[in-house]
Amino acid sequence: MSDSPRSGATPLLEMRGVNTHYGAVHILKDVELSIYPGELVCLLGGNASGKSTTLKTLLGMVTPTSGDVVLDGEVVNGQPTSYLVERGVTMVPENRRLFKRLSVKENLELGAYLRTDKDGIQRDLERIYGLFPRVYERLAQKSGTLSGGEQQMVAMGRALMSNPRVLLMDEPSMGLAPALVQTNFQLIQQIHEEGVAIFMVEQNANMALSIADRGWVLQTGRVVLDDTADALLANPELRASYLGEA
């Protein structure tokens, strides 16, 4: 296993030897990973490799059967999702999953559900309008009527409204046209540059690694590769299995 590039600092969010089960089915097997403040990292893997379960475990929606999820050095196993959201961990779900019958504004406000600082909420709303001018144009519109790209913006805006320190993104490129995937990754980078750590789960390995600092490869619930993005991109095994090169 390679050394983390920031091995002096405390990781923001960690998984230490995590195992999870759905009933009798063993999903995650001794998964170790760590996300440092302000990093952009990605978790790669094919279908049914346990990517989404990793996210759910990090967010407290699935409780590990053994091992620990650690936030700021504190073990948070068994804490409700709201505990993690309050402390700056937020997810952008797969396929965006907006509250379709609610307006764009309402979607954004729901992102700030746990916050009580009205001024801060207002400030973040304005920050998001600045980031996504198109979202501002459509505030009163029902989010289900937006185009795919706009929905992605609202989904990211909604996540940012909780004022996160780390954003967990589940397959941000899924279901988007190729041209939009590009814009989408630019958006992710933009958010990253504002200092938000990003943990991205992706099938589109090439694209994800091109912007990430580090990455892991998950195979049937086990981390098989853990390296810097450049090293992963150069890794012949990975090239063979994920980047479609024989």
């Binding site: 409700p80 965006r96 999953r97 379709k100 559900y113 185009s147």
Partner: protein, 606 residues
């Protein structure tokens, strides 16, 4: 979409979609035979609409050919698709549909004459045969129904040929005459109270039904309204909708004041029957408002809602009646209704928690089935021998006293006006609470849970607590209704809390428009007021036998044609008719084609 669309010339008479005509015709025939065998014509024959020529029984068979004859000729006007002018083709199509439908009735006449199927079909009676044959021979009946069907279909089809204004005038006239005739009891009651007895005497025949000159009067007034009045109403509505900001708020305030004033003043001039109806509407409105929070806002399909109504009713009855079950220790006093109500709130809330806690973790269909079970369990508990000593078993609790309001009034069933005021007071509370909750943080959390529970959880919403809260708020509102019900009726029995109550409330909420307070009010008035509740007679007492049939038909029709409810939530309408919006937008070139459309596609704001 627009009036400026250029129409292609009318198509030839024989250029028909014959398959569609046969489908419509068979549908009509089937519906007519069904109506006849459901006993509507015979059962409603005593209800004279227009003296001496028309009874409601015949109308139950006559309206459908007219309607289907018209609707076969209607086509959805889509932009980008050629629409043709209406002509003889539509008339012929209508007549064909009517003819096939009439043929169905004729066939029924023949069968009635030749076979006796009374055993499976209870309404297979000589009376039906006599009615369908107009007391003449069978051959006469067969011929006449073919003629009636074809004639009415033709009439319906030919409605396409006249100008839209004339069509509106005619339909308003017909509906007004039928409406005035059907609502005779209530209208003459109201007329009496408003010292307009002379008007009622002019319109109505002495033994029921509208007189011919009365019908003519009503038709003239309705026609005049269709020409001039409806335009004024529409104009007022449009100018109201154009209002914004402060002006809109002021307009809202004025309209709320008008509604409140009407609610307070109208019952004073109305008679006992009308007030009784209003009180029933209020009781069900209270229930529907509660269910609207549970289903409309939080999206929890609770089919056992009657349980909380029962808890409210029984708790009130036991606490206030001297005639409760024998097993109660004697030291438990009979308390004032308002004191009982405090306990009702607590108990209903606890019941909500108790039922909700195991149920709430389930989703969708599972949840619906389990709540259905709990609804029955509560009723069976009240009925059981085990609790019989406390709840009176099948004998129920009787002698429930009325509500003493500070010595000013004793609200009980014999004084429906007082009951109505009491119910209205609680409805006002419920409406205010619903309205505030909908706009609140918790209301938004409910909607988020309704839309997507997992994502709501990921936003940090504690979905279990939030859903439980919806359950409890709904339970408390239902228990208010139960408490008033017990005092109004003066007794509670397990049979007052059957599953049908849950279903009727659900239909009220769906038909009115889910998640919309105004819609729920409209649904209660239309369904409970006009048709009647599960055990409460409505305005149309004659229909009580067919109440469930009409509920069902209405529900199916609403789901097909107007899924957003009578008074829709703007937001929901958009979602339910999204494909239509999208097509229009696409044809107008408003959809950004370079963009990958997500699940809805992009619609430029209108």
């Amino acid at each position: 979409m627009t009036d400026t669309t250029v129409l292609a010339p009318a198509r030839g008479v024989l250029d028909q979609d014959w398959r569609k005509i046969v489908n419509y015709g068979l549908l009509l025939a089937l519906a007519e035979v069904f109506i006849a065998l459901a006993n509507m014509p015979v059962g409603l024959d005593d209800f004279i609409l227009i003296e001496p020529i028309l009874s409601l029984g015949y109308v139950s068979l006559l309206w459908l050919p007219l309607l289907l004859g018209y609707s076969i000729g209607t086509e959805k006007v889509l932009e980008g698709v050629t629409s043709h002018a209406k002509g003889a083709r539509e008339v012929v199509a209508g007549a064909c549909v009517g003819l096939i439908g009439g043929g169905g009735v004729s066939g029924l006449v023949l069968l009635l004459d030749n076979f006796d199927l009374r055993d499976p079909l209870v309404n297979w009676s000589p009376q039906l045969l006599a009615l369908l044959a107009f007391d003449n021979g069978v051959g006469y009946g067969v011929g006449v129904w073919l003629a009636i069907g074809g004639g009415l279909g033709l009439l319906g089809g030919s409605m396409h040929l006249i100008a839209p204004l004339a069509r509106r005038v005619v339909s308003t006239m017909v509906l007004a005459v039928v409406g005035v005739a059907v609502l005779e009891t209530i209208l003459s009651d109201i007329a009496e109270d408003l010292f307009l007895e002379w008007l009622a005497d002019w319109i109505y025949f002495i033994r029921g039904g509208v007189s011919l000159h009365g019908a003519a009067t009503v038709a003239v007034v309705a026609g005049a309204y269709a020409v001039w009045g409806s335009k004024a109403v529409k104009g007022a509505k449009a100018s109201y909708q154009a209002l914004e900001g402060v002006e809109r708020k002021q307009a809202n305030k004025v309209s709320i004041a008008v509604v409140v004033a009407a609610t307070i003043l109208l019952p004073l001039v109305l008679g006992k029957i009308t007030n009784e109806l209003l009180a029933n509407v209020g009781l069900f409105l209270l229930l529907a408002l509660g269910l609207n929070i549970v289903i409309g806002l939080a999206g929890i399909l609770d089919l056992g809602y009657v349980a909380f109504f029962a808890v409210g009713g029984y708790t009130t009855a036991i606490l206030t009646s001297p005639n409760r079950g024998d097993s109660w220790p004697t030291w438990i006093p009979q308390v004032w209704w308002v004191v009982a109500l405090m306990l009702v709130i607590v108990l209903a809330g606890l019941t909500g928690l108790f039922i909700g806690a195991p149920v709430i973790r389930m989703r969708g269909d599972y949840l619906a089935i389990v709540t259905l079970g709990f609804g029955e369990i509560i009723r069976l508990l009240f009925l059981s021998d085990w609790l019989g000593g406390f709840t009176g078993g099948a004998q129920g609790v009787t002698n429930v006293p009325g509500v003493q309001v500070f010595g000013l009034a004793n609200v009980r069933g014999t004084d429906p006006r007082a009951v109505f005021y009491l119910v209205a007071f609680f409805c006002a509370i419920a409406i205010y609470v619903s309205w505030r909750l909908e706009k609140s943080r918790i209301g938004r959390a409910w909607m988020a849970v309704r839309e997507d529970e997992s994502v709501a959880e990921a936003m940090g919403i504690n979905t279990v607590n939030v859903k439980l809260l919806a359950f409890v708020v709904g339970a408390v509102l239902a228990s208010f209704s139960g408490a008033i019900f017990a005092a109004k009726v003066g007794s509670v029995f397990p049979t007052s809390f059957i599953i049908l109550v849950s279903i009727v409330i659900l239909i009220v909420v769906i038909v009115g428009g889910m998640g919309n307070i105004a819609g729920v009010v409209a649904g209660s008035v239309v369904l409970i007021g006009v048709l009647g509740g599960p055990k409460q007679p409505g305005l149309l007492q004659e229909f009580s036998e067919f109440k469930l049939l009409i509920y069902g038909a209405l529900l199916v029709w609403m789901m097909l044609k107007r899924p957003e409810g009578l008074i829709p939530n703007v937001r929901r309408t958009r979602e339910l008719h999204q494909d239509e919006f999208l097509q229009d937008a696409w044809l107008k070139g408003q959809i950004d084609e370079g963009d990958e459309t997500g699940d809805g596609g992009e619609v430029a704001p209108a």
